[in-house]
């Protein structure tokens, strides 16, 4: 199997009881128990006022973690290629559109329609940072984080340029919540580079793994239930490994039913 080597230079994190990568370090390292609390979403400071008012939860979430990863990595976001991945999208927006479309003479809001595209967060980010670099928006249901990671590391290796990976999921309101019960917002972003630098936090060697190797889990029961409940939170074992640097660690993440992603950290 081909191994793809990249370096992590910035990390963004936002989720229930996880306000930022910096403030969640002790929880991720396992020295403090995870105390769940509703995810706090703030209006994206980068967006112009009109777009800021229109931004839905999924855009706020994705932009917050993207911003945090870029800030930590100290890179110029206007030159960065991006990979956005999400199992869902803007759930409240989808619900509102479907409710409107169920009426006899639907009057659809043009803003709601524009924000309904799966690449709304990517589009907003590239407008916010004035970037013409390439961007993609992926979905692989519960395996969306694995899909995004593979696309991102492949792009880093082949382009020789850094890539910002943003994985995020937002819940649907009822009645869709019953059909797809995501409990809360969760997002993470990784700034990945092709070469090490003085700012590098870790080296990742990523391979696809078709053999039934053991899936990495979270030691903290509250984080483990979050990992199960939200597709983007399938990244948690990788984030925990990044929070407690050791000589060598191997993480195996969920992707597709017959395919896992193996990550060797150094």
């Amino acid at each position: 199997m081909t191994a793809l080597k990249v370096w992590v230079q910035g990390i963004g994190l936002l989720g229930p009881g996880l306000d930022s990568w910096a403030s969640a370090r002790d929880v991720m390292r396992g020295v403090q128990a995870h105390a769940t609390a509703p995810t706090v979403l703030l209006p994206p400071a980068r967006l112009p006022p009109a777009e800021r008012r229109r931004a839905g939860a999924a855009v706020k979430l994705a932009l917050a973690v993207a911003d945090a990863a870029v800030a930590q990595a100290q890179v110029d976001p206007s030159l960065l290629a991006t990979v956005f991945t999400s199992s869902s999208g803007e759930g409240a927006n989808c619900h509102a559109l479907c409710e409107t479309l169920a009426t006899p003479t639907p009057m659809v809001s043009p803003t709601r329609f524009t924000n309904s595209v799966h690449n709304a967060a990517a589009g907003c980010w590239h407008i916010a940072v004035a970037s013409r670099a390439s961007s993609t928006s992926l979905c692989a249901f519960d395996g969306s984080f694995g899909a995004g990671l593979i696309e991102a590391v492949t792009s880093v290796r082949l382009s020789g340029q850094p890539v910002l990976l943003v994985a995020s999921d937002s819940p649907y309101p009822e009645p869709l919540h019953t059909a797809r019960p995501l409990p809360d917002h969760f997002g993470t972003a990784l700034l990945l580079t092709p070469e090490p630098s003085s700012q590098s936090l870790a080296q990742l060697v990523v391979t696809l793994d078709a053999s039934p190797s053991e899936l990495s889990t979270c030691d903290d029961p509250s984080l483990e239930s979050l990992r199960h409940a939200v597709p983007a939170a399938r990244a948690l074992p990788l984030l925990a490994a990044l929070a407690r640097p050791r000589a060598k660690q191997r993480i195996v993440l969920d992707y597709l039913p017959r395919l896992r992603v193996q990550i060797d950290l150094a």
Binding site: F113, A122, F141, T154, L176, R180, L259
Partner: protein
């Protein structure tokens, strides 16, 4: 990039099912568009509806995926010997070494729209609604991977109207990185209320048949389609070659293209550079050409700035409609048909050419050898992709 062999392909649009039906319609300069019939919606517009989708029955073992989008995917997969070609690739490389990368914008969302019209008295969705295999954006690639017995890496790209152009890049990258040896790429998008009423709310839907490059053009006609291609690491007898890919973002506006087409220019230049070609090497350009006033104006400027105004070009959306997330795949397939048959298809429905647009826009079919084609796909969120295809001769 190293040229990538395309070893099989198929498309199903309002022009018909399969490559032969598509070619016959292009040769006859026939449009597949007609006044809207879908769901008897009270909207004055034209659509490119595919015949017979409602009557498609999925095999029992794939029944959970039943929705209009996956029925259309299934219809598309049956054409042009595509199933046999994928079967041969699966045996050659192994099921786990063949990826599935498909584009869609709305996946099986129609299923959810219909479920919202059948809510229980307490507001719950009906019990027969299944989110994952229908509404979820990934449903399409999951369905196709199951239908084809493939277990390699896969996902859906959903970047609005550039989705199924960008999947060629995913396959090329994963093959180059050694993760896979072959991939099924393409896209499927089907008619639904969200896109019809949504584009209507933005006043981007024409009340008449869409007229790309016409001075009085007033918006698009939405179509639906399934387009698939099989790409392989090597082949003794490829159908055609993928020579280059360029991807960019406008970083300008969510639903309006950059007025000078800055992002589009970046995508076209990147595709030419990736192919190691210059503008003069391209014989025909399949334009994005949606027939909205702003798209065609911006694209005319962008293409002129890269190619000048001499290269023959056209939009085939007057024939197929704008098939949204499937458009990149559909137009990739039309590019391959153009090369194989020496046919540069006319842009249909033009009554009075827009005098402000300057490209060499084909109003009639042009028969001449076509060695290389560039195909443009641009989408909401400012997502741009350009592909370059070449013949086998």
């Amino acid at each position: 990039m190293t040229p990538l062999a395309i070893t099989a392909s198929t498309l199903t649009t309002a022009l018909g099912a399969g490559r032969a039906a598509t070619l016959a319609a292009l040769q006859a300069q026939r449009s597949g568009l007609a006044p809207l019939r879908f769901e008897n919606l009270p909207l004055a517009t034209w659509t490119g509806e595919v015949e017979g989708v409602d009557a498609i029955a999925l095999p029992d073992k794939l029944g959970a995926y039943d929705c209009r989008n996956n029925r259309l995917a299934w219809l598309g997969l049956q054409q042009d010997g595509f199933l046999d070609a994928v079967d041969a690739a699966r045996r050659r490389w192994g099921a786990g070494r063949v990826g599935v990368f498909l584009g869609t914008s709305t996946s099986g969302l129609l299923q959810t729209e219909r479920a919202y019209r059948r809510r229980e008295p307490g507001g719950a969705l009906p019990a027969d609604f299944h989110y994952g295999p229908t509404q979820n954006t990934y449903s399409l690639a999951d369905f196709v991977a199951h239908a084809l017995g493939l277990s390699g890496p896969g996902w859906v790209v959903s970047t609005a109207c550039s989705s199924s152009a960008k999947v060629f890049g995913n396959a090329a990258r994963l093959i180059a990185a050694g993760l896979i040896d072959a991939a099924v790429v393409g896209g499927v998008d089907s008619l639904c209320l969200t896109t019809l009423y949504g584009f209507n709310s933005l006043e981007l839907l024409s009340g008449d048949i869409c007229r790309p490059w016409d001075g009085a053009r007033d918006g698009l006609s939405i179509g639906e389609a399934a387009a698939f291609a099989l790409v392989e690491r090597e082949s003794a007898a490829p159908q055609s070659w993928l020579l280059g890919i360029g991807e960019s973002n406008d970083g300008h506006h969510m639903s309006t293209p950059h007025p000078e087409g800055a992002g589009a220019i970046a995508a076209m230049c990147a595709a030419l550079a990736d192919a190691g070609l210059s503008a003069a090497d391209i014989d025909y350009i399949n334009l994005h050409g949606t027939a909205t006033p702003s798209n065609d104006t911006a694209e005319d400027r962008a293409v002129a700035s890269v190619f000048g105004i001499g290269t023959p070009c056209s939009s085939t959306k007057g024939a197929t409609g704008h098939t949204l997330g499937a458009a990149g795949g559909v137009e990739a397939l039309i590019a391959m048909l153009a090369i194989e048959n020496g046919l540069m298809p006319a842009g249909l429905n033009v009554q009075q050419r827009d005098a402000e647009l300057h490209l060499n826009y084909l109003l009639d079919n042009n028969h001449a050898p076509v060695r290389r084609v560039l195909s443009n796909s641009f989408g909401f969120g400012g997502s741009n992709a350009s592909l370059v295809f070449g013949g086998v001769a």
